[in-house]
């Protein structure tokens, strides 16, 4: 569903992402982890078409993101760590707006369901400035899920959510994957990644340093046997 080949992104002499190749199959949740400045955000931004890669190909649901950007983008959703909301649109209007952008014929019905699911139904006429950080995040999530994306990319999706909402969000992510969506989850919360992700992609200085299930990664490094993801992550990313 998400296929990335030899992705590279340069800023002048600086290479933010170098030769990144991986794919995410339908129903799979891949955790994207790495220290600050490793290139996670740049990778995600390339994958969703916010920035153009310097080199490499990205295919979303079979469509080349550079050659057929509209078809590729119609199949994906990106939920950034900071909710990107329009200050003058109410909660319900955000969903109407997104519904039209993606051509969701039953946006009203789906939107109402999502608002119920995310406990925003009673705030449907509120403006973003009247919402708490967590509610804004929930609205951003609702906007992302409205068109039933086949590729879902999340950057720190649990920031600002309360414990109940975190539990529901985890369930939502797994539910979307179970329904055939390919999910990439970028987070510093290694416990969350370990809990939700079937595979993990560890990047360091723009390069993939490990990719696979936790067991596969450990199997390649016998010295890490019996360790959890946190120890594995630190061993992989700490400079010698």
């Amino acid at each position: 569903m998400i296929r990335v080949e030899h992705l590279r992104k340069n800023y002048g002499d600086f290479t933010a992402v170098r030769d990144l190749t991986f794919n995410v199959a339908p129903g799979e949740v891949v955790g994207l982890v790495g220290p600050n400045g490793a290139g996670k955000t740049t990778t995600l931004r390339c994958l969703v078409g916010i920035i153009r890669p310097t080199d490499g190909t990205i295919r979303i649901a079979g469509h080349d993101l550079l050659a057929e950007p509209l078809k590729a983008k119609a199949a994906l959703a990106f939920i950034p760590d900071e909710p990107q909301l329009f200050p003058h649109l109410t909660v319900a209007e955000h969903l109407r707006f997104i519904g039209r952008i993606y051509g969701v014929a039953d946006a009203g019905l789906r939107g109402a369901g999502l608002l119920e699911e995310l406990e925003l139904a009673d705030r449907r006429d509120a403006l973003p400035d009247e919402l708490s950080r967590g509610m804004k995040q929930k609205l951003a999530i609702a906007c992302g899920l409205l068109h039933e994306p086949r590729a879902l990319l999340l950057d720190e999706p649990l920031t600002g959510l309360d414990p109940g909402a975190i539990r529901r969000m985890k369930r939502t992510i797994l539910d979307r994957a179970a329904r055939g969506a390919a999910v990439i989850l970028s987070s510093h919360l290694l416990g969350l990644v370990e809990e939700l992700c079937s595979r993990i992609l560890v990047i360091q200085q723009g390069e993939a340093v490990a990719m696979g299930t936790l067991d596969e990664i450990i199997a390649e490094r016998p010295g890490l046997a019996g360790r959890g993801l946190e120890d594995v992550f630190l061993a992989l990313t700490e400079r010698a």
């Binding site: 952008i101 006429d125 400035d129």
Partner: protein, 578 residues
């Protein structure tokens, strides 16, 4: 404690200056700062003569200032007392809330801190003001001192008004009782002014003419009641508007006394203001963040009273259809909700109705209608020249949402067209309303015949949309080509370089617009001129139509370019994302 406050304020000022200075290392900021300096040099030193005392802003101007100035100050103070005082006088920022309210400081000390903290800004305003008043007879240092005294007293008066409001809000009747003396003094002064004004309006209504209205209002200021009510303001203004050094010393002493009385008043007050100040500070902080994130229009959404209902969108939005329409819908809705449209319409109706009502009361009323028509047409013209710079519900607003916008499956050409169309319609509708009202008044007067009025209206109707769209496209192209020169959300522009940037962008836009106007004007002349013999005045309309077609073709090409540019702009390199 005052020593600590002064140290804190000194650090604050120093760090601000250093931050501004560091920005000037960047060539584009340095160039903009140079333009800003030249602009101020032109304003302060260019056209304004610096000759002998009183030769530029001489006796008549000073006299006018002495007559009208106290009334203006009184209106300002009334505004603070009646509506604005508690909103702007004493505000604690979140940092001040955490540091000052948690510290072992008395209310009086906190108020003293706020007074001291405001002094650098007041001094800066006084310096600018004293430079602007370069032509007055007073030497510069005395002018500066007088202006500082005036502004510092007004600032303290504003704080005092806000404290009275805060006490009333937090303590109810008890708070009002504690401030009964200032409330009674204000009430008496305000009542005297309103009473005299009502009498004057009745006289003006009976003998409507601009000259009479002016004379009557001036006479009002000389009546005993208003004269007494305005006495403190006259005292405050007197040093600034003194005719010379000899004339300055005595009023300066009086103004110092007014300042001293305010200071004593503030130091003796024990109003509980914390809740109001903190609440207002939080609101201000939200506003500041909102403005930095999304321009002035966002103010309306951040400051919205929770009881205020949200206007329903004027435009419908079906779930399916061209996706770019959603962008247009969203941006028009932004304009609808960020401008108090209904109030604007009411204002327009009020201006027209007042003109007709006053005119009906006397024979010289035609002057007033002519004045109202000129004002309406002038507003339409101003909106045409400056509107595209100020109304920005297009890419300039949306670029701060680029992280989201780029993920939408919307063709970039369509997106560019939708962005431009939203601002174009936002500008065109009020322009046409103002022009229609102005032309209708002139036609009703007989100053303009119906046929040319219709021709002018038809010309405006077909010209304004394309003219606006070209100006808006230029602004959007500049935003993508030179993002740091255009105010986009997150761009915290201030200082001399911000003034320079604004000047460069404004003149650049006008220059580009002039260049773009050449082909349409040529097309209009080529098509319209030969038809004058056949069609007479109507040939102008054909010429305008040809010019509009040519300008529309230019706009279409530029929108294609804008779309491609939007597609190719790397938001990180352009500084739009970090």
């Amino acid at each position: 404690m005052t020593r600590h406050f002064v140290y804190f304020i000194g650090c604050d000022v120093r760090n601000r200056v250093l931050r501004q200075g560091r920005r000037l290392r960047s060539p584009r900021y340095a160039v903009a700062a140079l333009v800003g300096v030249l602009y101020f040099f032109f304003i302060f030193g260019g056209w304004m003569p610096s000759g002998e005392a009183g030769d530029a802003i001489g006796g008549p101007w000073l006299q006018a200032g002495r007559t009208v100035g106290p009334l203006v100050l009184a209106l300002l103070a009334s505004w603070w007392w009646l509506w604005g005082g508690h909103r702007h006088g004493l505000v604690l920022t979140p940092a001040e809330t955490n540091l000052l309210l948690a510290a072992p400081l008395t209310r009086t000390q906190i108020i003293r801190f706020k007074i001291l903290h405001a002094q650098p800004a007041i001094l800066f305003s006084a310096i600018i003001g004293s430079l602007l008043m370069r032509g007055t007879p007073l030497p510069w240092p005395l002018r500066l001192l007088s202006l500082w005294l005036l502004l510092a007293t007004l600032h303290q008066h504003q704080i005092a008004a806000s404290l009275v409001h805060a006490a009333a809000e937090e303590q109810g009747r008890r708070g009002l009782r504690r401030n009964i003396v200032p409330i009674l003094l204000f009430g008496a002064a305000f009542g005297a002014l309103v009473w005299a004004l009502l009498h004057a309006v009745a006289d003006i209504r009976a003998n409507a003419s601009v000259e009479f209205a002016g004379e009557r209002l001036l006479a009002l200021l000389a009546e005993p009641g208003p004269r007494l009510a305005l006495a403190p303001f006259r005292l405050l203004l007197a040093p600034t508007l003194a005719s010379g050094i000899a004339d300055w010393l005595q009023p300066f002493g009086g103004a110092c006394l007014v300042l001293l009385l305010h200071y004593v008043w503030l130091q003796r007050t024990d109003a509980a203001f914390e809740e109001t100040a903190v609440e207002e500070g939080q609101r201000r902080d939200a506003l500041l963040r909102a403005v930095r994130a999304g321009g002035l229009g966002r103010l309306r959404f951040a400051r919205r009273d929770r009881k205020e209902s949200i206007a329903r969108p004027w435009l419908p939005l079906r779930p399916t259809g061209r996706s770019a329409y959603a962008i247009f819908w969203k941006n028009v809705l932004y304009a609808q909700r960020s401008v108090r449209t209904l109030r604007g319409m009411l204002f327009l109706i009020l201006v027209v109705a007042m003109a007709i009502w006053i005119a009906d009361g006397g024979t010289s009323g035609r002057d007033i209608i002519r004045f109202a028509a000129a004002a309406l047409l002038g507003l339409a013209a101003m909106l045409t020249v400056f509107g595209p710079l100020g109304v920005r519900n297009d890419l300039r607003m949306d670029l701060r949402h680029l992280e989201q916008l780029r993920t939408y499956p919307v063709p970039s050409r369509d997106l560019a067209a939708a962005e431009v169309a939203a601002t174009t319609i936002t500008l065109t509708v009020p322009q046409l309303l103002l022009a229609t009202a102005g032309l209708a008044l002139l036609t009703a007067l007989g100053t303009l015949r119906p046929a040319p009025a219709v021709l002018l209206f038809a010309g405006a109707t077909i010209t304004l949309p394309v003219l606006n769209s070209l100006a808006v496209i230029i602004q959007n192209l500049l935003a993508l080509l030179y993002p740091s020169w255009i105010r986009i959300g997150g761009h915290d522009a201030s200082g001399m370089e911000a003034v320079g940037q604004n000047m460069i962008v404004m003149f650049g836009t006008l220059l580009l617009l002039a260049i773009l106007a050449i082909p349409p004007l040529a097309a209009g002349a080529l098509v319209g001129a030969p038809l004058v013999v056949l069609l007479g005045e109507s040939a102008a309309l054909v010429g305008i139509a040809a010019a509009v077609v040519a300008a529309s073709a230019e706009a279409a090409l530029l929108i294609l370019w804008l779309g491609r540019l939007y597609d190719r702009t790397d938001p990180v390199t352009a500084g739009l994302l970090h």
